[in-house]
Amino acid sequence: MSKVQLTNVRKTYPNGAEAVRGVDMEIESGEFIVFVGPSGCGKSTLLRMVAGLESVTSGQVLIDDRLINDVSPAERDVAMVFQNYALYPHMTVRGNMSYGLKNRGLPKAEIDQKVTEAAKMLRIGDFLDRQPSQLSGGQRQRVAMGRAIVREPKVFLFDEPLSNLDAKLRVQMRIEIKRLQRRMNVTSIYVTHDQTEAMTLADRLAVVNDGKIEQMGSPIDLYNNPATLFVASFIGSPQVNLLPATFDGQHLISGDLKLSGFGDLPTSTELVLGIRPDELRLDESGPFLLRVDIVEQHGSDNLIYGGVLGAMNDGDQETEFCFKTSQDMLPDLDSTLKLGFNDERAMVFNKVTGERLR
């Protein structure tokens, strides 16, 4: 049970790339934290600084109130699961799992007991004497998890551990990781670019953008109350519908559209209106006319994609909307649907700064 604390952590690589630009964070004991963000935003770098695999340019990394900036990775009492598993190819599964314990001088009987226990928990007991090359991707992933578990570290670190697995296995492993973490109650930091993984695993989610934490909170909180345009568009699947607009004092204007129900917005700035696909509804008096392009049937619900007549985006093309509806809703292609939205739940952002205005 351990706390992790980052204060004004920065990382500049020797080539000048500023990967992390000042991150503050407090992770409570036993919490499952997910760093999520687009590729290249610096989430791996941040994780690797906690692991000790990257030096910290400035700022402080603390585990249980102990400053570990200059402590070697092996002495931080953290364990990491890598994307490509990073198993030792010349050792058996047992060798892989016991290597870290051996180096820490544990007695052999104790190592054997821990390995057997972890292998049972991960259902890899039958493979203990195989080489990694004789295992499937999913099995290797389990071994990598086992190697981390036997160490009984203060903190688990995961860097996109499921990215190399196929979709079905990914869902299974996701559930298993969550279950293990619950059972062992070890503080965990998990990096992913996959927002479904992020939403389902996290106690708290940190959305990373360009080396900074854009927003941090519980998944549902971030979904319901995104603080910025970036968070709104990153969290939620299918993505939030965005409509460029301006405010004339009474209405939001977007192309030929005039939307009422908004007040108290700046008139001089460019704005973006955000409406989640499930906040749209069929409404004869609604403001949007959607020309149906594609209907995706996902089983329980259908996603209808199409252009909004009269609404132009920056590229002077029709803005695309996604409308989430029930499975019996099957409009013809090129037919039009009249849509309204729940203006209580609609979000407005400053287009330039990305700041949420309402």
């Binding site: 000790g52 070697s72 002495e75 931080r76 953290v78 364990a79 990073a86 190819p89 870290g100 180096n103």
Partner: protein, 292 residues
């Protein structure tokens, strides 16, 4: 029911023909010649010869000078192989850690690769020249009564030194690319599992280099056996008193200098058998252990 029959055509044979011709002309034919010659005894002028069965083998292999050469060859090959591998591995590990100026460092270390063994020998000769040789003077200056013309240990030192120097760069290149082939994440995983860098090297890096090391060992033993001929011929010529004569050098000496074609052929055949045996041993017993 009709069975599928593949048409046999001559074309595949045509494609492998060059390879086969090369093997026959440059390997099988000389080998057969050597075996044939090894059973013959020629008179001093090479005018007539007589089939003597294994007399040539008995005469040469049981001779003291051959046994001495065999002993030296084994010791010499072991030393050259071990030292050039160890040194190259050390340099490669260090070069792999260098970040700034890495390519200059690496290129410099690779240079010796371009030098042919006889040229390396000539350079060594200059450095160990009693009149102008810097190394000769240096070794004497630090209190070693060094004279490779008279002292067999010193002579051995010279040929081992030059042979190792020449071979280190080849080994270095292979070790370096071997090191760079080890996945970064595996090393990082070990960084979290083990805090001693020396221990990490012996438990992770070195085992993962095993295929490279094995390959280089085969190459280096062959080098020490055969290719160092040029170095020995240009430095000690087997002197003093045959102390630095390798088996290959002795084949050359007895055959060309001594004009004992039969004896020299017998030695070649024995050498062939030794190398064959060595290769079989290497591939049978060691290779099995290095692949994971």
């Amino acid at each position: 029911m009709k069975r599928v029959q593949f048409e046999h055509s001559a074309i595949p044979y045509l494609f492998v023909a060059p390879q086969i011709i090369i093997i026959v002309v440059f390997f099988l034919w000389p080998a057969a010649q050597a075996i044939y010659q090894s059973f013959l005894l020629e008179d001093a002028f090479g005018l007539s010869s007589q089939f003597v069965w294994f007399r040539n083998y008995e005469d040469t292999i049981l001779s003291e000078s051959w046994l001495q050469a065999a002993g030296f060859t084994v010791l010499f090959s072991a030393l050259v192989t071990f030292l050039s591998l160890a040194l190259a591995l050390l340099l490669a590990v260090k070069a792999n850690e260098v970040i700034r100026g890495a390519s200059t460092y690496k290129t410099t270390l690779m240079w010796a690769y371009a030098i042919a063994p006889p040229v390396a020998g000539l350079m060594g000769n200059l450095m160990f020249n009693p009149l102008i040789g810097d190394l000769y003077k240096f070794l004497n200056a630090i209190g070693w009564d060094f004279n490779h013309k008279l002292d067999s240990f010193d002579a051995g030192f010279v040929v081992v030194l030059i042979s190792v120097w020449k071979q280190v760069s080849v080994n270095f290149i292979f070790f370096l690319s071997g090191l760079q082939g080890i996945p970064k994440s595996v090393l990082e995983a070990s960084l979290m599992d083990c805090k001693s860098s020396l221990r990490r090297f012996w438990t992770i890096t070195f085992p993962l280099l095993a295929p490279t090391t094995f390959f280089l060992m085969v190459i280096n033993i062959t080098y020490a056996f055969f290719e160092t001929f040029g170095i020995i011929d240009t430095t000690t010529r087997g002197a003093p008193g045959g102390a630095t004569t390798t088996l290959v050098f002795k084949v050359f000496q007895d055959g060309f200098r001594g004009a004992d074609i039969g004896g020299s052929s017998a030695q070649s055949v024995v050498l062939m058998i030794m190398v064959l045996a060595l290769t079989v041993v290497q591939f049978r017993f060691i290779e099995r252990k290095v692949h994971y």
